[in-house]
């Protein structure tokens, strides 16, 4: 991407996060990026095009990282811990991006929303798969795998709201702590690498 494109992206991220998509004018955006409205349009199209580009970039990064983790091991607890660590790190590092991607989907027109939601669904399917696999292998035990998935994703995305990069806790420590909490939520007791889930789902034959 050109440096002008990068500047526009950074300006849009700041303003959309601070003022919301509807609260940000195209002129304000151009001014913040140091461009004329016409030049901005030439580079980025409409304000909605810009929002979709930001969302697509962010979600595609998550999907790529998630798919890499999904292909790295069959072991469900390891995969889950890696997904949690990646997601938490990514969201803690990009609070503005998280705010825009998570909070402004409703601002999109139906056809653009469809594209963004499809990407998000693809990412969330990776989480669903690892939870299903872990239940199947007897490592996890949950009443509802889809509720557990939503609970975990909201919990992990939430770091973008409070994590302070200047604070005492480093990103590595944060990721480790969240991975441990996530595994416990899924019923893993003790060392995730060796211990099967304590609570076994009714339809899962597993070591008790």
């Amino acid at each position: 991407m050109t440096s002008t494109g990068e500047r526009v992206h950074a300006a849009a991220l700041e303003l959309f996060a601070e003022r919301g998509f509807h609260g940000t004018g195209i002129r304000q955006l151009a001014e913040h990026a140091g461009l004329s409205s016409a030049t901005l349009y030439h580079y980025m199209g409409t304000k909605e095009d810009l929002l979709v580009t930001l969302m697509r970039t962010s979600l595609e990064r998550l999907v790529r990282a998630g798919e890499e983790i999904a292909g790295s091991t069959d072991d469900a607890p390891t995969r889950l811990a890696d997904l949690v660590g990646m997601h938490v790190t990514s969201h803690a590092q990009r609070p503005l991006e998280t705010r825009v991607v998570d909070d402004e989907v409703h601002a999109l027109s139906p056809s653009r929303r469809q594209e963004v939601v499809a990407l998000r669904d693809r990412y969330e399917a990776l989480w669903q798969q690892v939870i299903d696999d872990g239940v199947g292998s007897g490592h996890f035990a949950v009443t509802s795998a889809s509720i557990a998935r939503r609970a975990l994703l909201e919990m992990c995305s939430g770091v973008a709201r409070w994590y302070d990069p200047a604070g005492r806790m480093g990103l590595g420590e944060l990721a480790e702590e969240y991975s441990a909490l996530a595994l416990r939520l899924l019923g893993v007791v003790g060392d995730p690498a060796t211990t099967p889930a304590r609570r076994v789902a009714p339809d899962t034959p597993g070591p008790v």
Copy 2:
């Protein structure tokens, strides 16, 4: 509150949630509530006054409900399960309110923000206390009680983003499921029905 006041509140909640605080004009707000801008100002003051009132109403309701639960029992797992159930139910029922209260704090001027953040802190202190108590009584085991508190609050508030009142899952079931997940995250192992973490409704003498 007069019915005009209620109408203005409902209009503000819808527009702030849909378009953001900065994206909502005072005229648009008046129109949506079926009033003139002058009448709106007479009833509600500035747009920021209105936002603060919405936030204060919402947070005071949570604080009241939380304090009632805090005073109902010394048993930390029961108290935690009740807090989770109350929070999840409240947020699932009020998705617009959640969006405005959680996402628009940054839109407030410093002095107004202080008031709102103080209320939020008071509510979160109730959660911190029950986690600390549960660690003290040996029911909970966490590396960091403050991280666990933040993780739980984000997880529970997140239901406002996805819960569908028209869907298959009832609010009671949702609350119960989240309480079970929260207790596990805090290190309570085994079947919540038979461990000390068993959830007993405040007015139900349990067979413990």
